[in-house]
Amino acid sequence: MATATLPVTERENYLNKEYGIRSWLFTIDHKRIALLYLLSVTFFFFIGGLFALLIRLELLTPAGDLVQADTYNKLFTMHGMVMVFFFLIPVVPATLGNFLVPIMIGAKDLAFPRINLMSWYLYVIGGILIMHCMLTGGVDTGWTFYTPYSTAFTNTKIIEAGLAVFVAGFSSIFTGLNFIVTVHRMRAPGMTWGRLPLFIWANYATSIIMILGTPVVAITIILVAAERLFHLGIFDPKLGGDPLLFQHLFWFYSHPAVYIMILPSMGIISEIITCFSRKRIFGYKFVALSSVAIAVLGFLVWAHHMFVAGMSVYAALIFSFLSYMVAVPSAIKVFNWTATMYKGSISYTTPMLYAFGFLGLFTIGGLTGLFLASLGIDVHVTDTYFVVAHFHYIMVGGVLMGYLGGMHFWWPKISGRMYPEGWGRLAALIVFIGFNLTFFPQFILGYVGMPRRYWQYSPEFQVLNVLSTAGSTILGVGYLLPMIYFLWSMRYGKQAPDNPWNAAGLEWKTSSPPTTFNFDETPVVDFEAYDYENIKDTDDDGGAH
């Protein structure tokens, strides 16, 4: 860029082009909308985290002393609902995805900028509804809304919580739709499908799940609301319905939803590992298509959540087999990332530390998922802490490691400032230690028989529970640190060069932060993705190599 020599503060970019609250609330710039999302998902992360903290505090002692059973039920329900629907699902696509998808393919914006802004408003409306619901009593069904408890028995605010999830669901449908159209129709000249960054492939696959899965949970919520409000018999056996139908419809969305959460993080890991190994990704096509394979296979495994709910042996066998199958594309990714690092010149920057963390935690989470996919073990550990530990290794260990790695990787691009590298590495280490201390004991607890969703437990489980609670405190500190130094760096951080990591990819060819239309002129792509063999590692612009 011709203007690259001017100091950041004097160049016009998307942050300093306009000021004032209106310029943010009515913006249609995908980068500003990404920041709006960043603020709101961070808010809900801390709300959800607060519930988690209260849960862990209650479980410090075997007796139910901090809260009553009813309150405890509400705590884990609201923790799950906020974290799943208001944090994990939008966290990567709506923030980093929103920011990067157009830039990485050389477009000026997403295909539908106004729909993008509408998505954020839908998210906010859903968020206000769920906050109101929490403040006026909350819900106690668990985030799964299982019938007939949710439709006929509980007297908590099911309708309002359902509405919140419904509205937030449409926010993610429109985000997915926007991404798919953008990737199909807005690529810069020369940006062929075979040259797309893997982060784009990952978001593309995620979007497919968003638009196919989310409408099903939307109609399921409507049916629950109709049964609760008008006594229409659909799921309640007393009215002739079948509660298993609810579970099938619910998990048809909610299993693939796990891939909505993890796939974008996998895309981030691909970007980070190639960059800090200075190598082309090993097996580009396999990594790219494994995302699509996960999206497709992910829709065929939902009933593994229902092995003990009443299902024919043959159906259970098929779903067990398919659940093993979906592990194959995930394993392909892990092996290819490892092969990419082999003989690479690895630098241990903060994003790379998070990528290492991701590899370890995702592997443990994935392998214990195979335990749960096998019928015999599943019967033994259903509804125990083993399940809780498993999905936290994927959804917190996997998703959050990827997200934080990505936030550090692209922070110079987003804010135009460098974060403090030393603090970054320290926080990554604290998160990794805190996470394992919190959730590894839960595998053991579950295996020896501690059930989930109880506010009391027998005294022999206490030692492991204390370890877990201690770990959660450390984890909390690990999550607070980046919050603090990111904010600090916005004012005091070193000014970021356009390409601090010497990375490949279009986003590093524009200024930091980018201008409103991302590029001064539409780029023409004449290189393959991750062409690190042909990028000289000059290290003259302050990258931490």
């Binding site: 477009a107 000026k108 914006d109 295909a111 539908f112 900028p113 729909i115 449908i173 739709l177 926007n178 798919i180 159209v181 953008t182 199909h184 129709r185 807005m186 638009i211 196919l212 899965g213 989310t214 409408p215 099903v216 939307a218 109609i219 399921t220 409507i222 049916l223 109709a226 008008f230 006594h231 229409l232 018999g233 659909i234 009215l239 002739g240 319905g241 079948d242 139908l245 419809l249 239309f517 002129e521 539409t522």
Partner: protein, 232 residues
């Protein structure tokens, strides 16, 4: 904003982030098709529930279905197919840049849509008066089916489930009709003001796609809900 090299760059409807009108139109129609895919999944959940329960309780569903008014249902089917035709003619008029004709067909579509909703409201009223609306006051006495003298006894609870599904499915369909009528009202106003021309009529086309989709849903709903007993 006007730095696009394409010859069509001067079309005032071209948004800044597209290179030319063709790219913009492609993006809009792909977006609409994807939205219809989400709609298929949305209705799919209900059709799935309906099919499972219908297989489980076929006799009860067939008996309950007998009480629906096939004549009104058939008229409504004809009305909707007619409205699909007027939508096609509206898109055609837009393509040829005939403003008055476009407005005429859009209004015709709205009138047909409202006719459908009116007839539907009449049917709902009938059901309400017959106590066929699920709830505490529900009760159902099956009429004798022609050709089925040895009719098994009917489980009233399962008949109630039929009506539950009937109201949810036709209700969601009606909501989509109302949204469609609203959409066409806005488009009629804009067309009257002359916003659409042979060079730019994507919104008309996309609203048309949506309307066809809603019609197709009804084409499935009508036999599934009204005509069960005819093939049993």
């Amino acid at each position: 904003m006007s730095d696009s090299p394409a010859v069509t760059a001067h079309n005032p409807e071209l948004r800044h982030h597209f290179a030319d009108m063709a790219q913009q139109k492609d993006a809009a129609s792909l977006g609409m098709w994807l939205f219809l895919v989400t709609e298929i999944m949305f209705f799919g959940g209900m059709f799935c529930a309906y099919l499972i329960y219908r297989l489980q309780h076929f006799n009860d569903f067939a008996a309950a279905s007998q009480s629906l008014d096939i004549t009104l249902g058939a008229i409504n089917t004809a009305v909707l197919i007619g409205s699909s035709l007027t939508v096609v003619l509206a898109v055609n008029a837009a393509q040829r840049g005939k403003r008055k004709l476009l407005v005429f067909y859009l209004v015709a579509t709205i009138v047909l849509g409202c006719t459908f909703l009116g007839i539907k409201a009449k049917e709902y009223t009938q059901k309400f008066e017959e106590h066929h609306v699920p709830g505490p006051t529900f009760h159902f006495i099956p009429t004798r089916m022609a050709g089925h003298p040895e009719q098994p006894p009917i489980d009233e609870r399962h008949a109630e489930m039929f009506f539950s599904l009937y109201f949810v499915m036709t209700g969601m369909h009606a909501v989509h009709m109302i949204i469609g009528v609203g959409l066409f009202s806005v488009l009629t106003f804009q067309s009257w003001k002359g916003r659409y021309s042979a060079g730019y009529y994507t919104p008309i086309e996309n609203a048309g796609l949506y309307w066809h989709f809603v019609d197709v849903v009804w084409i499935y709903l009508f036999p599934l809900l009204y005509l069960i007993s005819l093939h049993g």
